[in-house]
Amino acid sequence: MLKLLSVLTFLTLTLPFLAHSFSPDHPTDRRILVLLDDLALKSSHSLFFKSLQSRGFELDFKLADDAKISLQRYGLYSYDALILFSPSVDRFGGSIDLAAILDFVDSGHDLIIAADTNASDLIRQIAVECGVDFDEDPAAVVIDHTSYAVSDTEGDHTVIASDDFIKSDVILGSKKIEAPVLFQGIGHTVNSENSLVLKVLSASPSAYSANPKSKLSNPPSLTGSAISLVSVVQARNNARVLISGSLSLFSDRLFRSKVQKAGSPKKHEKSANEQFLTELSKWVFHERGHLKAVNVRHHKVGEADEPAIYRINDDLEYSVEIYEWHGKSWEPYVADDVQVQFYMMSPYVLKTLSTDQKVMHVIPSRLSVFPVDFLLIPFLIFVLFFVLQGSYFTAFKVPDVYGVFQFKVEYQRLGYTSLSLSKQIPVRPFRHNEYERFIPAAYPYYGAAFSMMAGFFIFTAVHLYSK
């Protein structure tokens, strides 16, 4: 009995830590379920998998129709992310279905979907739920007769060399992608009203999506740069989804392939697929662009403690620290466009926060109080500079409107997780004794009263005793 109890306590204590989505408290320990059509993909796409494994991800390869697969066990997710490399699967084995995958994403887990020609309805449906529509014609592929990859053996211009990337360092890394990315597969469009989907790799204006083997009589449904080859979704719960219309995009063959884009004399020794997907998978698996804000503080100028209420026209200081997850640790996040709003129904004050420089001047003076070797001070400043880099600061005057206000930081930037901080704070008007007194303009009134009083005093005496 005791043994059972101890096992139970062990389970209840450890189970919550075994698996959950990306959370700022436990950002590591990430298990990924990889569902494959064919186990041969494991070796034909090994470079991609290796890059994940070398970054510390634990990959669990399963056939998509394996009857034993499941995402959940006892109501807890056993995986942190899912890779669907099974474009042709009509029905997943085990307990996985469309709803299960959507629930998985809804609970903040990440997903990579690779479709291909003849992608099954199930895969298309998952994509539709993520805000992406694949071309409905099952035989259609993306064709581009002006920016294809020059090849001696692939003559049908379905291997596209695309270099129309999204301009975002956070999604694709700060290193510029020099070579084009090779893509062979189907195209999709993103719903223009869906602001959560981003086209990461777009087709060129001359591309179109059609069956290369049949003549076109009607205009194809997808043409030009409206075609997205690779898209990402960042849901409101910060779950990230990568949708690619090509499975071979991830393959060793295209990773290693030499590239020459049609019409360009430049030959690249290697396609950019590896760099593109490594950087993109870093983003999808939250190794980049995941922000957290801590130490939200505000106080009156000259004070240190947070007041319960502000008076109108108070001068206040607001500060917040923002960090970005770098795969292993939280690093200070530096930007010049973090804004705070002082908000009641609508923003009364909207100010851009400056990275905190003021503290820098204070510290050396405080340090000098202590018997610190003066040689140490530059070093300490250097250390503190890095510590304080992610710290944002601003000061402003409380508006002369009273009510219940909020400090709001709504930080939404391309590719970053959105930060939404709000802190409620009431603002009161002046108290009766806080108004200005002895106003010079009122001196005549005061004077009138006092001269009256003096007159009265004299009059009483005179009236009583005069003969």
Binding site: A40, K42, S43, S44, S46, I143, D144, H145, T146, D152, T153, G155, D156, H157, S192, S195, K199, P205, S206, Y208, A210, P212, K213, K215, L216, S217, T223, G224, A226, R253, R256, N313, D337, Q339, Q341, F342, Y348, V349, L350, K351, P399, D400, V401, L414, I439, P440, A441, Y443, P444, G447, A448, M453, G455, F456, F457, T460, V462, L464, S466, K467
Partner: protein
């Protein structure tokens, strides 16, 4: 209708089948060699296990990479350790011996003798297939490595029988007698073990046993799986086993078993050459595997196929399937063995060339390709009758020596999809705005589609736009590209795409704006005109902005559908917002301080006037009581009034209302008392005066 649909479906299937069949397999090349060096990396000169070491060494050996010296010392050391230890499992010995067969480490014959005796005992008593496989495999290796050790099996027939007893009726094997699941992978191991038994047998194995085994092999080939491109492979039937053995390792195991068995038995195993070729295609079709195990399986199996006794596959490959007419490319065909070594003397024939348009008629007659010794390739100039287009060339390989036909498998004819590309001539391009009713020409502009154009046209909804041009192939034939799109793009990014149709060489599209107003959402304004012409075989495919047209369309009626909302630009959506600063209420305007002070001064004038008046009236204090007690009350009364007035001043300066009222109450009581006394005194004095 249904039959037509079915017919269309069949054509589609056929088209797919033909195109799929046309994929080209390339033999092992240098990219494999560089990949091998990347995949098999030794840490500190040794591999994780002897099995890995063997896989690396064997792959290097097959690919002709010399890396032995780097790992020799460390690996030989562990080989000698393993062989010397008396507790090594058969599996360890097996891989140690395999490594030794490549590295040729210095191993004492005595050690071999000891191992041979142990393995002999294991082989005689073993019950599981893996034990047989490892022990017999090891004995075969010892036989090859040391001529002096006696490894012959005394009871070869018995061992043969006990291995055979694990086989199933469908040609597959069980791993042990108490395991009911049969496996294809095991069949490969069993065949390899049995071939070892045959080669180690001291007396000849019963011939009938071997012939039943041969029929088992043929049965195994019944369960083979097929890809559309002609590649065949073996896969486990049982799902549980499938998790452990991929199709690649299963097929590799069968190929090793088959080739080993064929090597030790006389007489042919009647596996068709096509099947062997299919297996070779399967291994080559994988490309370059990404993990070491798969790589070894692929390369090792191909090496087994390279020199097998059943049929040596010959692979027909084309370095280029895209031939340019402008570059005058030659058709180059290579025929090699799977590992890329040269084939016996043979002729490659181009039997047919099917144009993708017409599935039946051959555009050329049968031709032989010229052999060039230097590059070991067969060449042919692209025949004159072949215009730009997409073709399926059918090649046939004919071996010169009829004896070779028994040794090699060529697979009959090979279909290859060939793209013949060329520059398409674009002529007579013009764009015309027509009046709708009479068809008279309003404006006519010539276009140069090879260069830049920037036309400025204008039209209203009663007019038409006509774009026409001609496309001809280098041979003067009509050319119909896959992609001929005319795109009109409004300022608001609403796009309309039209496919330009053709009749013969001439491409023409007429846009009647009257019929299109609804499609255009009644949006007047400037439309950019873009023309895209492209095809897989057109070397000068282009996407070109021609210019723009100003359309004057009628006002939209109320019920007209709204144009789609343009996509939001993701870059602008996320930018920082404009700063907002609160505008504070301006304080009310006040008079200047001087003015207040002047008025303050003026306010004291009445008081002064009052005092002056009093003096003028000649007031005096003669009525002030003279006796002590009333005088005291009088003084106290006025002090009290002064105190109340002072209290008012203090109230103005600092006191609050409650303190003031408290003091005022006290002072009031005091004043009431002293006031009453002094006033009654004054009253009695004045009454006395009056009565007196």
């Amino acid at each position: 209708m249904a039959t037509r649909n079915l017919g269309g479906f069949l054509v589609l299937i056929l088209a797919i089948a033909i195109c799929e069949a046309a994929s080209v397999f390339q033999p092992i090349s240098d990219s494999h060699r560089s990949a091998a060096s990347e995949l098999f990396t030794a840490t500190d000169g040794s591999f994780g296990s002897l099995e890995e070491a063997y896989e690396a060494l064997r792959s290097f050996e097959i690919l002709g990479i010399d890396k032995k010296s780097d790992i020799r010392t460390a690996t030989c050391q562990s080989v000698v350790d393993k062989l010397g230890s008396s507790s090594s499992a058969p599996k360890d010995l097996f891989y140690a011996l395999k490594v030794n067969s490549i590295l040729k480490c210095k191993v004492n014959d005595k050690i071999f003798e000891g191992i041979a005796a142990r393995l002999n005992a294991i082989a005689n008593t073993a019950s599981s297939l893996l034990d047989f496989y490892h022990s017999i495999g090891s004995l075969v290796l010892i036989k090859d490595q040391s001529s002096e050790v006696d490894v012959l099996l005394a009871d070869a027939g018995g061992i043969f029988h006990s291995i055979k007893s694990l086989s199933q009726s469908d040609g597959r094997w069980r791993f042990s007698s108490d395991n009911p699941e049969s496996s294809t992978y095991a069949a490969g191991l069993a065949l390899e073990a049995l071939s070892g038994v045959v080669s180690l047998a001291s007396s000849e194995i019963d011939h009938s046993k071997i012939s039943t085994l041969k029929s088992d092999i043929l049965k195994l080939f019944d369960s083979v799986e097929k890809y559309d491109d002609g590649a065949i492979y073996f896969d486990e039937k049982v799902v549980d086993l499938r998790e452990h053995q991929s199709p690649l390792s299963t097929t590799a195991s069968v190929v090793r078993g088959l080739t080993a068995f064929a090597a030790v038995t006389s007489g042919n195993i009647k596996v068709p050459g096509d099947k062997i070729l299919g297996l070779a295609k399967f291994f080559l079709g994988i490309g370059i595997p990404g993990n070491a195990k798969d790589f070894f399986n692929q390369v090792d199996s191909l090496a087994s196929l390279e020199s097998n006794e059943v049929a040596i596959p010959l692979i027909l490959s084309l370095p280029a399937t895209v031939l340019s007419l402008t570059r005058k490319d030659q058709l180059q065909v290579k025929v090699n063995t799977v590992l890329g070594s040269s084939a016996p003397p043979l002729t490659v024939k181009l039997v047919r060339a099917l144009s993708s348009g017409s599935k039946v008629a051959s555009t050329i007659e049968s031709q032989e390709l010229k052999f060039d010794k230097e590059s070991e390739s067969h060449f042919l100039d692209v025949p004159k009758s072949v215009d730009v287009g997409n073709y399926i060339f059918v090649f046939e390989v004919v071996l010169h020596d009829s004896e070779d036909e028994k040794v090699y498998a060529t697979g009959g004819s090979t279909q290859v999809q060939i793209f013949v590309t060329g520059v398409i001539k674009i002529e007579n391009a013009e764009i015309v705005v027509l009046d709708s009713d009479v068809g008279s020409i309003e404006t006519q502009k010539k276009l140069d589609l090879a260069g830049e154009n920037s036309l400025a046209l204008s039209a209203n909804h009663l007019q038409k736009l006509r774009l026409s041009f001609q496309l001809t192939t280098p041979f003067g034939n009509a050319f119909k590209p896959h992609q001929v799109f005319l795109k009109l793009r409004h300022e608001t990014k609403v796009e309309h795409i039209f496919v330009v149709g053709n009749s013969g060489k001439k491409f023409e599209i007429i846009l009647d704006f009257l019929g299109l107003v609804e499609k255009f959402y009644y949006l007047s304004g400037s439309y950019d005109i873009q023309l895209t012409v492209g095809d897989a075989v057109m070397e000068n495919s282009f996407f070109r902005a021609i210019g723009h047209i100003d359309l004057d369309l009628p006002e939209a009626p109320e019920k007209a559908s709204r144009p789609p909302t343009p996509a939001i630009d993701p870059y602008s959506k996320y930018g920082p917002k404009a700063e907002i600063s609160h505008i504070f209420r301006v304080p009310e305007k006040r008079p200047s301080q001087e003015l207040s002070l002047i008025f303050l001064g003026l306010l004291f004038l009445p008081l002064i006037g009052f005092l002056v008046g009093l003096l003028r009236l000649g007031v005096n204090l003669k009525n002030f009581p003279t006796s002590a007690i009333p005088a005291t009350f009088g003084i106290l009364f006025h002090v009290g009034i002064a105190a109340v007035l002072l209290l008012y001043v203090l109230f103005w300066l600092k006191l609050d209302l409650f303190t003031t009222l408290k003091w005022l109450g006290l002072l009031g009581v005091f004043l009431l008392f002293v006031g009453h006394r002094i006033l009654s005194h004054q009253a009695s004095t004045s009454a006395k005066l009056k009565s007196a």
